[in-house]
């Protein structure tokens, strides 16, 4: 009887743990020199360098069952409408085999040129958006770290 109760409690606890982990959303391996921020808002993960290069992930439901190309084009249209200057598009692949589309832009913020990268991955149930931005100069110095962080995306349906 006691053993049965213990097992039931363990099962409930495991379910809660797994459920919590699943709801946590996509995360990245925080690069050296970056600090991870607690997130409870729109982002499932966010980290920043001392010089203001910020990495973040969004985890959204893929309610419209669209693929990566759809989300990439949708985001691209929105961002261009808002004045972002497109610099190029590339395909990226995470270490876990997830393939996404990276959109690169420049924009001006507070009179300074900034870089803004949006990488989108779509699965059947979720859309993972990895954003990276910062002042052009420190961002360019941190590009390698940013690329590695994006490739380290840990996401699952």
């Amino acid at each position: 009887m006691y053993t049965a109760r213990i097992c039931a409690q363990l099962a409930v606890a495991l379910t809660l743990v797994l459920g919590t982990a699943a709801c946590h959303g996509a995360r990245l391996e925080t690069p050296n020199g970056f600090a991870t921020l607690d997130e409870d808002g729109a982002y499932s993960y966010r980290a920043t360098s001392a010089k203001g290069v910020v990495l973040a992930t969004r985890t959204e439901k893929n309610d419209v069952k669209a693929n990566t190309d759809f989300w990439a084009e949708t985001l691209d249209a929105k961002l261009r409408d808002r004045g972002y200057v497109a610099e190029g598009t590339r395909t990226v692949k995470t270490g876990k085999g997830l393939t996404g589309t990276q959109l690169r832009y420049t924009t001006t913020k507070n009179g300074r040129e900034h870089r803004y990268w949006v990488t989108v991955f779509a699965t059947t149930k979720k859309v993972f958006v990895v954003e990276a931005a910062g002042d052009k100069e420190p961002f360019d110095k941190a590009v390698a770290s940013v690329d590695r962080a994006i490739a380290s995306l840990d996401a699952s349906d």
Partner: protein, 298 residues
């Protein structure tokens, strides 16, 4: 009366020799004022050595056209044109003839030649040539020659300056030159020589009428033939100069404007224009951007 005949025969070679000397060299040193008082220069009159040998004979009338020929405009680059006002020489001649009408007055005989270099669009060259020809015809001139990219016209010398101005008005003139060749001296020398030769011919004809022997007649006729040939040659030369002075030649050469080569422009394809996005009922799509990302304060 035998004496006169033998003396006459003996004197024929002497007279012929004198005539030959006169026609051969006397003309170039100008006749006496009595020969051509209206057409001789002061210099020619002062050095006239043949007064007795050249009886009076009226010189050809002075040419009207050369005397009226205008000089090129002051801006011309004529190497031989006068630096004074364009019409100065003609006016000077007129004034001289009015005030000092006498043996030192003679009309200037000037041959004008104009050269223009124009640039025009390749397609417009034939039309430009047509306009040049129109100018010539409107002034009483005519076309003298035409090639693909050049045309030569003749206009009355009195209208030379007007023709040049009108052609320049067509536009595209990049170079112009005017040559004024003063042939007055040659012309008037020829006139005097012609008068002398005609006098000689008259006297030779008189001798021929008085000659009795065949030998004498042949000798005189050979001389007459020589004089006639010389008269023909001088009359031809005078006619040539008269024609050239009356009608000025304007040559127009056209060059096609070089086509401006299109600059080599390396066109970097601009990023495609913003596409009209669909208005998805998904709020987070509109929230993606740099501002919320970089805003770290909660």
């Amino acid at each position: 009366m035998m004496l006169p005949r033998s003396r006459l025969l003996r004197s024929i070679p002497v007279v012929l020799t004198l005539l030959a000397v006169q026609t051969g060299c006397g003309a170039s040193s100008a006749p006496a004022p009595a020969v051509a008082p209206q057409s001789m220069s002061a210099k020619a009159g002062a050095t006239a050595p043949m007064a007795e040998a050249a009886p009076a004979s009226p010189p050809p009338a002075p040419m009207a056209a050369p005397a009226q020929a205008p000089m090129p405009s002051p801006s011309s680059s004529s190497p031989s044109s006068s630096p004074s006002s364009p019409n100065a020489p003609a006016k000077t001649a007129d004034t001289r003839s009015a005030k000092n009408a006498g043996p030192t007055t003679r009309a200037a005989v000037i041959i004008y030649q104009g050269d223009l270099h124009m640039m025009a669009d390749e397609d417009a060259i034939p039309k430009t040539i047509d306009k040049v020809i129109d100018v010539a015809e409107s002034l009483g001139g005519h076309i003298a020659g035409r090639k693909d990219q050049s045309v030569q016209i003749k206009v009355p010398s009195a209208s030379f300056r007007e023709a040049m101005t009108k052609i320049e008005g067509i536009g595209g003139v990049v170079n112009r030159s005017v040559t004024a060749d003063d042939v007055s001296e040659e012309f008037h020398d020829l006139e005097v020589r012609l008068g002398n030769l005609r006098s000689t011919r008259t006297r030779l004809q008189d001798f021929l009428g008085k000659a009795n022997g065949i030998q004498d007649m042949l000798t005189v006729e050979r001389e007459l033939e020589r004089v006639a040939l010389e008269i023909d040659r001088i009359e031809g030369r005078l006619e040539f100069l008269r024609t050239r002075a009356a009608m000025s030649v304007i040559s127009v050469a056209l060059t096609a404007k070089p086509k401006v080569a299109a600059p080599i422009v390396v066109v970097t394809p601009p990023p495609p224009p913003a596409r009209a996005g669909i208005d998805l009922p998904i709020p987070w799509v509109g929230e993606v951007g740099i501002d919320p990302l970089l805003s770290l304060r909660k």
